[in-house]
């Protein structure tokens, strides 16, 4: 058993590795990450995950639900550390897996992978507490600087592959004309939601999509066990682009980024030109990619986070069209149902920290994209896959502060509004890439004392 495998075994048991091994690991990881472009090319099949935030036991549950490394390919969209009690164990394990199976796991940077943020939100304190000095924190921060800013998934199948999963008791089929039996023909299904027991909770058919009814977003289903709300009444929602005629059968690529878009970035190539090997700046394109959020506004708006921007459906549709994307997958925002599609399924938020901060009561989700049959074999390229995807079609990007959305967002609701899109000009839909088939697996928080791992019962803060 190699040292790396031993380290993996220790970390999987939620035990820490010695400081000198951390240093070595971080050095190796940096050597590997330096070779990656700002936008890593990833081929389907891949399982896309959102924020982890040091919830180690839930990361183990994620691997149980989604399959273990290296059997399943993973793409983690950042925010590995801070908030939870096991940021070190979580991040070091992911880093070990990255070094051990570099082609099977992709890590991109979240806004918490930063020196400044980790001193406020817990990771710095955790390093001091567990290693007695800030050395390990420094090693980790150096790795953070080398993490890619995004990933571009290509070769995802537009249709879901059948699974052996059975239907959950609470199964919701959006097609009234069908009885609730497992579909044998997946041709029209583009979303399937499963629970942690591999039971199908709900399913959405492409042809059901009625753009007029697209006022509520598709959201995750919940297993009924905790009495959480289910995705009731979501039939016919989250319409994608018209499947009749205008959409291409060839699925476009999926851009994965922690936060979202930037007013300074209109093509993926512009992301590739950034100098990423630095602390996350307080403003500018790199900051925006890690901090921004989609919101129900037109154009760009100020972010209530004090960094990054809010961006509306028009921005996403324009960006996706211009870059030949079918979907943007991002993390960064807590969504109670684990995932949330917005803007006619042109962007999805994936959140993978269940009962976030041991307090929020949410479920988590991961997103599986299957491999397109025409894409032979599994391959993965470091660096600049898909470079030529940008279309040469000029489309002016609305700038912040312009338009009615310019001042929205300060202290505004949950930022979880409705996934409408009624204000988008019709011609924007023309030529949309057909979104890939999306299989979401939702899961709840793992019991802290399972699997014989050490677990200090964390205490959540309230106002008393």
């Amino acid at each position: 058993m190699s040292d790396l495998d031993k380290a993996i075994a220790l970390l999987r048991a939620c035990r820490l590795i010695p400081e000198n091994q951390v240093r070595e690991l971080c050095y190796k990881a940096r050597e590997l990450l330096i070779e990656e472009g700002n936008v890593v090319g990833v081929d389907a099949p891949v399982t896309i995950c959102g924020d982890i935030h040091g919830q180690f036991h839930d990361l183990m549950e994620l691997f149980r639900v989604g399959g273990d490394v290296p059997d399943t390919n993973y793409l983690f969209m950042g925010d590995f550390v801070d908030r939870g009690f096991y940021s070190l164990e979580s991040f070091l394990l992911l880093l070990c897996l990255k070094v051990r199976y570099p082609d099977r796991i992709t890590l991109i940077r979240g806004n918490h992978e930063s020196r400044q943020i980790t001193t406020v939100y817990g990771f710095y304190d955790e390093c001091l507490r567990k290693y007695g000095s800030a050395n390990v924190w420094r090693y980790c921060c150096e790795v953070f600087d080398y993490l890619a800013l995004g990933a571009l998934v290509s070769g995802a199948a537009t249709n879901l592959e059948p699974t052996s999963a059975t239907l959950a008791d609470t199964f919701v089929d959006t097609d009234d004309s069908q009885s609730s039996t497992p579909a044998t023909d997946y041709a029209d299904i583009d979303i399937e939601v499963l629970n942690a027991n591999n039971e199908i909770l709900s399913r959405y058919r492409r042809r059901d999509r009625d753009p007029l009814m697209s006022s509520s977003p598709v959201r995750g289903g919940m297993s009924g066990s905790n009495g959480a709300p289910r995705a009731a009444g979501a039939a016919g929602t989250g319409a994608t682009a018209d499947s009749g005629g205008s959409a291409s059968n060839d699925g476009g690529a999926v851009l994965c980024v922690h936060g979202g878009l930037s007013p300074l970035i209109d093509t993926i190539d512009k992301i590739r030109l950034l100098d990423r090997k630095q602390e996350v700046p307080h403003e500018g394109a790199m900051c925006d990619l890690l901090w921004s959020d989609p919101d129900e506004i037109d154009g760009w708006g100020l972010s209530p986070r004090g960094a990054g921007f809010l961006f509306g459906a028009d921005i996403v549709k324009c960006f996706n069209h211009r870059n030949d994307l079918s979907l943007i997958a991002r993390a960064h925002q807590l969504v109670m149902e684990g995932f949330k599609e917005m803007f006619d399924a042109t962007i999805v938020t994936v959140w993978s920290a269940p009962n976030y901060c041991y307090r929020c009561g949410n479920v988590a989700a991961i997103l599986e994209l299957a491999e397109d049959g025409s894409n032979a074999g599994f391959a993965r390229s470091n660096g600049d896959a898909g470079r030529s995807r940008g279309l040469p079609m000029p489309m002016p990007m609305p700038m912040p502060g312009i338009g009615p959305g310019g001042l929205q967002g300060q202290g505004q609701g949950q930022g979880q509004g409705q996934g409408g899109g009624g204000l988008i000009p019709r011609q924007m839909d023309i030529g949309h890439r057909m979104a890939p088939g999306r299989r979401y697996r939702v899961f709840e928080a793992a019991p802290q004392d399972s699997r014989g791992m050490p677990a200090k019962k964390p205490v959540a803060d309230y106002f008393l």
Partner: protein, 391 residues
């Protein structure tokens, strides 16, 4: 580290019995020792929530969210807890919201004598902050703090041990008047500030076995039945049963402050226990030994308002959650300043969740004067509240 200190039950266990049995002698049938112990432990946990509050306040003050020269003096531990930004912002909003209600009360008919009764005041610094800002206030405001004797003795000792705190208090007294401090150090009496060692449950007349109703109410020296009075309850009345809460309030609204006198209540409590966040909140607090017996009865802003009306505060009621107050009552320049205290807030969705689960509610009665001369109508009549929940 931001995690609060977990009250250590064993170390908190003193020699005291459960509050309401204390000093009334006699063997109490049907109460096993273990039950007594469990009840005592529960009381201690509730008493210890005060340390949680003072720690949160100190954290917010040291990070620049708000100004409070008394925060360190009334945080009895040596530590300097550091809370997460979301908690610091919540502490700021909660303080600002109640300050807002108090200030509007004090500046309505400003020369009129007034009275404030702070229930479960613990280590609260409000009186000191008010009097430091306007020393003349002490001559027209009688202030009462009520809490368990374990908390009042700590408070009085902290006042005496800090010369600058003690000076603020001494300067508030009229020429030649001396304060009275009980021999055991649990009670402070003066024309300006009074600290009363009272188990609030001893003010209840209903909701408890008849045999346990004390024959007389606890002594509250210097309580003036004739001046407009504001009751404050910051996370206090939520720790007893709904029946007892109603009964405690009835004692204030009928016996202690007669109906002719304008009276109001401003409270701060958690709400919405039935959604996923609320359920986890109850579960987490329960593992710390903290129950919130009233939360399912007064579970929304709407129910908080009707509870105030039912309690006799018929002049008007309002309610708003912490998130709403942050965006509507706090001015934009102040929001920007607070927002930058720790370099922005990355807990936006979590803030919306947490801030939606705490509410400030206020209600008043006008007394004999009617609306025209009502100090509370003038103070709060035009105040904006949040709409009721859609249920």
């Amino acid at each position: 580290m931001a995690a609060p200190q977990i009250p250590h039950l064993l170390s908190l266990r003193g020699g005291h019995g459960r509050g309401r049995g204390r000093g009334r002698g006699g063997h109490r049938f049907g109460h096993h020792e273990s039950e007594e112990d469990a009840a005592a432990a529960k009381d201690h946990v509730v008493q210890a929530t005060d340390g949680d509050a003072s720690g949160s306040r100190l954290s917010a003050v040291e990070l620049g969210y708000m100004d409070d020269p008394f925060a360190r003096a009334f945080h009895y531990e040596q530590d300097s807890p550091r809370r997460y930004p979301i908690i610091n912002r919540g502490t700021y909003v909660r303080t600002a919201a109640l300050d807002h209600l108090v200030t509007r009360f004090l500046s309505a008919f400003p020369s009129q004598p007034k009275q404030i009764i702070s229930l479960g005041a613990g280590s609260d610094t409000r009186w000191f902050r008010l009097v430091l800002a306007d020393p003349s206030l002490a001559h027209r405001l009688v202030y009462h703090e009520l809490d368990f004797s374990t908390n009042t003795s700590k408070k009085i000792a902290a006042m005496q041990n800090r010369p600058f705190v003690w000076k603020v208090f001494k300067d508030s007294l009229p020429e030649g008047v001396l304060e009275k401090i009980s021999e055991n150090g649990t009670r402070l009496e003066s024309p300006s500030l009074n600290v009363h060692p009272v188990d609030l449950r001893d003010l209840a007349r209903e909701g408890i076995p008849a045999s346990e109703i004390p024959t007389s109410l606890p002594r509250l020296p210097n309580l003036d039945p004739d001046v407009p009075t504001l009751l404050l309850s910051e996370c206090c009345l939520c720790y007893v049963s709904p029946e007892i809460t109603v009964s405690i309030l009835r004692t204030f609204t009928t016996s202690l402050i007669p109906r002719r006198t304008p009276l109001a209540l401003a409270l701060y409590e958690p709400i919405h226990p039935h959604d996923p966040f609320g359920r986890v909140m109850l579960r987490n607090l329960a593992t710390r030994g903290i129950d919130l017996p009233t939360i399912s009865t007064f579970s929304s802003r709407r129910l908080q308002k009707s509870r105030l009306e039912d309690a006799g505060f018929e002049g008007g009621q309002g309610a708003a959650d912490v998130g709403w107050i942050w965006s509507k009552w706090v001015e934009e320049t102040e929001r920007e300043r607070v927002g930058q205290c720790e370099g922005g807030l990355d807990e936006v969705e979590e803030w919306d969740l947490l801030a939606g689960h705490y509410c400030v509610a206020w209600g008043w009665r006008d007394g004999d004067g009617g609306e025209e001369e009502s100090v509370f109508w003038r103070a709060w009549g035009e105040l904006d509240g949040q709409e009721d929940e859609v249920e």
